[in-house]
């Protein structure tokens, strides 16, 4: 390594998110008390893009065939383009980063597919602790054909979150900031990040 950082790449363990899609975790240790964790989700798949585009344009052609109005075609093109731009700029998250700097604070940033980054920095004085919480996640899809009725299946998921101190009462927790909301990694990935963060929080 040319610089003093240490990278850990995940070739031996593959991580998945709660839906089963593959994600990757990268840990970077810049110094004894500064670490950066990046969770990358799957990129935009070209198959799905083509499927959506074809569906929209096919329906537009059918409507044009029925109504003979060319505005339908141009509006379909515009809708497709605008929809794609909105999706990659506002919806699709490429990777999420957690940068923890001992005695300074924690920085949480999401990077979207178009390159836009949205960052939030929380000072160490406001942080009470970083914990793994449980939540009940509603899954509305019916995955099993055997069950005929529509059931809302609930699963318990784990998420990493930062507990913030209440300014008036140092022992109480005022609010919770959940991390890695879009990538939703599973418990094994979270435990790794959690252990690293706790080491740094304990030092400073």
């Amino acid at each position: 390594m040319q610089n003093g950082d240490q990278h850990y790449s995940m070739e031996d363990e593959t991580y998945t998110d709660i839906d089963g899609k593959a994600i990757s975790l990268e840990c970077q240790s810049h110094s004894g008390f500064c670490r950066e964790f990046t969770v990358s989700s799957a990129k935009v798949s070209i198959g799905r893009v083509m499927a959506y585009t074809c569906a929209v344009w096919l329906s537009a052609y059918i409507i044009f065939f029925v109504t003979e109005n060319t505005a339908v075609l141009s509006s379909a093109i515009i809708i497709t383009l605008v929809g794609m731009m909105v999706h990659i700029h506002f919806v699709k998250v490429d990777h999420e980063t957690l940068l923890i700097i001992g005695s300074l604070g924690v920085q949480v940033s999401s990077s979207y597919a178009s390159g836009r980054e949205s960052t939030d920095f929380i000072e160490m004085g406001k942080i009470k602790d970083i914990v793994i919480n449980e939540a009940i996640h509603m899954v509305r899809k019916i995955k099993d054909i055997v069950i005929n009725e529509a059931i809302h299946m609930q699963t318990v998921i784990y998420y990493l979150c930062i507990l913030l101190k209440d300014p008036s009462d140092p022992e109480a927790v005022s609010s919770v900031v959940p991390l890695f909301q879009s990538s939703k990694p599973r418990l094994n990935c979270l435990v790794k990040v959690y252990k690293s963060c706790q080491e740094i929080l304990a030092k400073c």
């Binding site: 610089n3 003093g4 950082d5 810049h30 110094s31 004894g32 008390f33 500064c34 950066e36 940068l99 700097i101 001992g102 005695s103 300074l104 920085q107 940033s109 960052t119 939030d120 920095f121 000072e123 004085g125 406001k126 300014p167 400073c204």
Partner: protein, 578 residues
């Protein structure tokens, strides 16, 4: 705790010298503001620091040795004896290398203890972070949420203190390298003070212009509050016309902007700037509209189409009433009541048309002069349009009131007689329904009246429905106009422009980036400014207006419509006074 040193980027290449800045209490951080170069006389430096009016101390020494300047180490160490401090920072950088080396001297009771890197098993080296910041951006930016009170220095978090330190040190940055002072410093303005000719000229020109405008405005307000214009009917009319409302509102705004005192607080400055920019845009759009309308005599054409349009509306209403007087949509109406109501409304329409025809020769002239007032702004043009619509559809409003009152009376009568039918009564004292024993003749007459009203209900209900729908259409149109006026009034254009073109001025927080460093040097971070989100900009800097908002929720509105109460869906708030 880890020691954090905030180092300005402009001093990365500065020559060797003394570091001046401020220690932040309780956070183990130091903010470096400038570097004072050699040669200097320590006494003059101490005097300068005391007289500068800024909370400064000497933090330590900075050395970037060039060729032929070895042997500075002992000289720098001796400096710490001249400037007695609790902690003395020794920062050094070698040419060609990116990272800094750090050493710390702790002075305790004349005994010098050295804690240089490498002696504590590498532990010392790891316990310091260098945070690079761009001094110009931090100086000019404002951290949100803006604190108006006096913060408690003990519990305040670190970032506002850092920003506050840099902002308060503005007098320090007035000295640049071309001044012949006792000390030579490096900071963000040391290459020459930043300034703009246009801004300076505008500052000079603003004072007489402000005084003139304030004088004109005081004349105008005294005229408006004179006795003649404050007679009861004039007050009532002017409170109903939205143009007068907008006029008074703009006068208030102009008074805020043109006050000769300078705005010191950030909020006040932003408010003034927003009002000024929105007023400027409003007036220019209004002038554009006026120039477009008065070209090719468009206003004459508009006036010529106004009377035929009113005629057309009246004709449509007459046809509607004829339809209602027949068998509308196959429903069977009560013939007598139908004819009475229909003829009553037809007569009103006839009166209205006669008045419009009486006014028609003057309409063009009135419209021509009134249209000139659109020069005052686009908002005035829109308010005028709303007022003209209200005046031209006054007969629809009258019909709505007649229909609603009739329907309301029918419904109340029906509900009261329904109670009588069941042997109950409304107790006004207790605000509840009580049982009551009626006499036989009371019951007889009550039942008779109940039956009459019940069978007349469809006719009155139909008239009420038709005129309420017409009224709602007019109200929706006026509402759209008022909403757009409100939007133009309250949207913070200056703050939005600042957010788009100088996004570092409005800061929500900071973001850090790790700079790649060489092994053996402490951690270096770059602190950038995280700009405020666009939605927060609009929310924070919105000018409070007499905004038009729906008074009732949808449910309450439907209930009122059902009962026949008169609805005034838009209600003006009075302007908030800060």
């Amino acid at each position: 705790m880890v020691l954090k040193i905030f180092f300005p980027q402009c001093c990365n290449k500065a020559d060797s010298g003394l570091l001046v800045g401020r220690w932040i209490p309780g956070q183990n951080s130091a903010v470096v503001l400038a570097v004072i170069h050699y040669p200097f006389i320590p006494g003059q430096v101490k005097q300068y620091i005391q007289q500068s009016g800024v909370d400064l101390t000497v933090l330590g020494s900075w050395s970037m040795p060039k060729e032929g300047q070895e042997g500075m180490e002992s000289f720098l160490r001796d400096l710490s004896t001249i400037f007695p401090q609790g902690q003395w920072l020794q920062l050094s950088r070698e040419m060609g290398k990116i990272g800094f080396r750090y050493g710390k001297l702790i002075q305790q009771e004349k005994e010098l203890k050295e804690d240089v890197e490498g002696e504590e098993g590498g532990g010392e080296k790891d316990k310091v972070i260098f945070i690079h910041y761009e001094q110009r951006k931090v100086m000019l930016s404002q951290l949100h949420p803006v604190d108006n009170g006096v913060p408690d220095p003990q519990t305040e978090s670190q970032l506002p203190q850092v920003f506050g330190t840099v902002c308060q040190s503005e007098p320090l940055f007035f000295l640049d390298k071309y001044d012949d002072g006792p000390v030579k410093m490096t900071h963000w303005q040391s290459e020459g003070r930043e300034g703009s000719i246009i801004v300076e000229l505008m500052k000079q020109a603003s004072t007489p212009v402000c005084l003139l405008t304030t004088w004109i405005l005081t004349l105008w307000t005294s005229l408006c509050s004179s006795r003649i214009l404050n007679v009861r009917p004039m007050r009532f009319i002017s409170s109903k016309l939205s143009t007068c409302l907008q006029l008074s509102y703009r006068t208030e705004h102009l008074q805020t902007v043109c006050s000769p005192t300078r705005a010191t607080a950030h909020n006040h400055f932003m408010r003034k700037a927003n009002i000024f920019v929105s007023f400027f845009v409003d007036v220019s759009l209004g002038l554009l509209l006026v120039s477009w309308m008065y070209r090719e005599n468009r206003i004459g054409k508009l006036a010529n189409t106004l009377v035929p349009a009113a005629d057309h509306v009246a004709k449509e209403l007459e046809e509607l009433l004829q339809w209602l007087m027949g068998a509308p949509a196959g429903l069977k109406m009560n013939r007598a009541l139908d004819q009475v109501l229909g003829r009553f409304f037809l007569y009103h329409i006839h009166l209205w048309i006669s008045y419009i025809h009486l006014m028609s020769p003057f309409i063009e002239m009135i419209l021509w002069y009134v249209g000139l007032s659109a020069c005052l702004g686009l908002t005035f043009a829109l308010s005028l349009l709303s007022d003209i619509t209200a005046l031209l559809t006054f007969h629809i409003y009258c019909f709505y009131v007649y229909g609603a009152r009739l329907y309301c009376m029918t419904v109340y009568g029906l509900s009261s007689l329904w109670r009588l039918f069941r042997g109950k009564k409304w107790n006004v004292l207790r605000q509840r329904v009580d049982s009551c024993s009626y006499d036989l003749d009371q019951l007889f007459i009550g039942t008779l009246l109940f039956t009459i009203l019940l069978f007349l209900l469809p006719t009155t209900a139909l008239y009420y429905l038709v005129f309420t729908l017409l009224r709602l259409v007019v109200v929706m149109f006026q509402g759209v106009l008022h909403l757009s006026v409100d939007f133009i009034n309250s949207f913070p254009l200056f703050a939005m422009g600042l957010r788009l073109f100088r996004s570092y001025r409005l800061a929500e927080g900071v973001k850090f980036r790790v700079l790649c460093e060489e092994p053996g040097t402490p951690l270096h971070l770059m602190m950038d400014i995280n700009p405020l989100k666009v939605s927060s900009v609009v929310q924070t800097y919105r000018t409070p207006t007499y905004s038009c908002y729906p008074k009732d929720s949808w449910l309450a509105l439907c209930k009122k419509l059902f009962l026949g109460e008169l609805i005034y869906p838009w209600r003006h708030k009075t302007t908030k006074i800060d």
